[in-house]
């Protein structure tokens, strides 16, 4: 399973793709079963460069009935910083946030490629 993610251009907010638009919660994101539909969505997202920056696909696993990112980095993006629990999306609380906190996984997402140049 995959989801498509990016940062919103206007404020840098972490966003997820849903049927041609961007949403803020991973629970609202479109989950791709087929590789080709994921790649098609990525191509569509790249065609909207004034909305979100550098969209990329992430791998998901099921945790406590929710789709959660395999990689630790993506779970932090989906939650917010672990030193400020009231900052970021985790502030909402709820079962989906708890599932993200409990999720385990391996393998870094592809989102880190080339990021060194941004520093």
């Amino acid at each position: 399973m995959k989801a498509l993610t990016a940062n919103r251009l206007s404020d840098g907010e972490v966003v997820f793709w849903k049927s041609g638009a961007w949403v803020e919660r991973l629970t609202d994101a479109e989950v791709f079963v087929a590789e080709d539909s994921a790649v098609t969505a990525e191509t569509s997202a790249r065609a909207q460069p004034t909305l979100a920056i550098d969209p990329y696909l992430i791998d998901l696993v099921e945790t406590e009935g929710f789709w959660t990112p395999v990689s630790y980095r993506e779970r932090i993006r989906a939650l917010g910083p672990s030193n400020h629990e009231r900052h970021g999306k985790q502030a909402d609380g709820g079962d989906a946030v708890e599932a993200l906190r409990h999720a385990h996984g391996a393998a870094r997402s592809s989102g880190r490629v080339n990021l060194i140049r941004r520093k």
Binding site: S10, G12, Y72, I76, P81, N83
Partner: protein
């Protein structure tokens, strides 16, 4: 503090207006992200994990109360009520919206601040001794030279596109509080035999992927020849530094590849060509020196009830022992303000705390505030008679943790909680260790012990020069931590050595405790952790940490 003139102000106003137009064009789609990214980075605006991050330059770590209040205003109006002081003595805001960035630059410019050259392959903010102008052991105030370097290097056309970023440190004390030997250039002010001042010039230090303690290129450079020499070093680097490989582009790689002697010969040849025409006229140094406002320090003011309170109040006495440093004038002291409250994020400060520090600097501290590369603040000129009042106010704002240079005074970079480049978190590791060693008697019994944590090999958390260094690594998507021992960023600079295999996150604090226990067993009279380690080697510590694994 240095006072901006009309030209300085006009430059900043122009820069903010230019960026406003660039942001408008990006939001409208006129500029692509690839076109815009270098422009925003030139204004210190990064895209991190959760939002944009704005890095504001704190020139050589000096702030006045008005500037601190401007930072508090930005934290309140444009961020989430706090900022983060970094190991570059700058401040970062973690939750910035792109559309707000131009207005933030306006607010900064109003307070003579900016974000220029806080990113990119240029000469970055100069690191200065945070006790400059106050330290009992300094030869002269190094900030005059820092300001001259700032003016010389700002928007310098020849040095705006170097092979890689470039960092300079300046100190005028024998005790190095700037980590000068792990900067691209470290300038140590010395007095020559004839009484004139000059610099020992260290070139090619650095951390990151390939740490180096820089070699001394020139043992004594007369101070009036500083700028032609800097120009020669930068020019040789600009010409020969590698641009083909980002990991080999820093000057440390060039100096190591050529050898310090051969590199030095190239610099000498270039220096000769430049000649005295490349030096700053003496009148410029005088102009810059005169543009600093001088603190109005009295002649040996009476200490009031300082000693009586110290004798009567153990908590105050502990603060005095750990957070006060010797001032060059009797009746005054330097006060370290800890941004390392137990359980807090190292370097973080709330807007309300910024206001408290600004108020204290204004009322009791000659209007001077410093940020340190160890992510703390300093009030450099406090009368002994006022220390108790200042301590009370700091304590009420949770800024008086008496832990400077102790085990809980930990440097930690933002790590994977914020940074797009991170492998692992750093903040929670620091918090966990600080909690374990929360008991102040125990921390004082352990003595000076510097723990430094980076979330990746870029080493913003200076782990290579930590007495105990902790580096976050990624092992198949999980957070692991590599321990190094024996680093130092002080005058006895050294790069730490790896202790053994990386540890999972839940074993790091136990490992630190095992190292500390081994130290306390091995310690001989008066030895710091680093002294014991240097005497015994790391075998007892390796044994302590990895005993279970045998």
């Amino acid at each position: 503090m240095y006072r901006y003139d009309a030209v300085d102000r006009a430059v900043l106003a122009d820069r903010a207006a230019e960026f406003r137009d660039q942001v408008r064009r990006r939001l409208s789609g006129e500029l692509t992200e690839d076109q815009f990214k270098p422009l925003r980075l030139m204004n210190g605006l990064y895209l991190q994990l959760h939002a944009y991050m704005l890095r504001v330059a704190v020139p050589y770590g000096s702030l006045d109360p008005r500037q601190m209040r401007a930072l508090a205003d930005i934290a309140r109006r444009f961020d989430r009520g706090y900022g983060h002081f970094t190991t570059r003595t700058n401040i970062q805001f973690n939750w910035i919206r792109l559309a707000d960035a131009p207005e933030i630059l306006d607010v900064l410019a109003e307070a003579d601040l900016h974000a220029i050259q806080t990113s990119g392959n240029c000469i970055r903010n100069v690191t200065a001794d945070p006790y400059a102008g106050a330290a009992a052991d300094e030869l002269e105030d190094p900030r005059v030279w820092c300001e001259a370097i700032r003016q010389w290097s700002s928007l310098h056309p020849e040095f705006s596109f170097l092979p890689r970023k470039f960092k300079i440190a300046v100190t005028a004390s024998p005790h190095d509080r700037t980590a000068a030997k792990v900067h691209d250039i470290g300038l140590l002010l010395r007095r020559g035999r004839d009484g004139a001042t000059g610099f020992e010039v260290i070139v090619g230090g650095g951390m990151g992927r390939t740490p180096h303690v820089g070699p001394t290129l020139k043992a004594f450079l007369p101070s009036e020849r500083l700028f032609s020499y800097l120009e020669a070093v930068l020019r040789v680097y600009n010409r020969h530094g590698r641009r083909d490989n980002i990991y080999k582009a820093r000057i440390k790689i060039l100096v190591a590849a050529l050898g310090a002697e051969a590199f030095g010969r190239e610099v000498e040849a270039e220096w000769e060509k430049i000649g005295v025409a490349g030096d700053l006229p003496g009148s410029e140094i005088v102009r810059i020196r005169d543009a600093f406002t001088r603190p109005e320090l009295a002649d040996s003011p009476a200490p009031g009830d300082f000693e009586a309170r110290r004798a009567a109040e153990p908590a105050f006495a502990r603060f005095v022992r750990n957070n006060l440093k010797a001032h060059k004038l009797s009746g005054y002291t330097i006060v370290d303000v800890s941004l390392k409250g137990v359980g807090e994020t190292p370097g973080d400060i709330s807007a309300d705390q910024m206001d408290v520090v600004a108020d204290l600097a204004e009322r009791f501290g000659q209007g001077e505030i410093r940020s340190t590369h160890e992510q703390n603040l300093v009030l450099p000129h406090i009368r002994l008679a006022d220390v108790h009042t200042v301590w009370k106010a700091l304590d009420a704002a949770r800024l008086a943790t008496p832990n400077i240079n102790l085990i809980s005074d930990i440097i930690a970079c933002p790590g994977l909680d914020y940074c797009a480049l991170a492998n692992a978190r750093a903040i929670c590791v620091a918090q966990d260790i600080a909690r374990r060693f929360e008991a102040p008697d125990r921390a004082e019994a352990i003595g000076e012990l510097k723990i430094k944590i980076s979330g990746c090999i870029n080493a913003c958390g200076h782990h290579h020069v930590g007495h105990i260094g902790i580096l976050g690594v990624d092992k198949k998507g999980e957070e692991f931590y590599q321990l190094t021992l024996g680093g130092s960023g002080a005058e006895d600079a050294s790069v730490g050595k790896m202790l053994g295999p990386a540890l999972p996150i839940d074993r790091v604090t136990d490992a630190v405790e095992a190292i500390v226990d081994a130290y306390l067993q091995q310690r001989q009279d008066g030895e710091r952790f680093l002294d014991t380690l240097r005497r015994t080697g790391d075998a007892p510590f390796r044994e302590a940490v990895y005993a279970d694994a045998h």
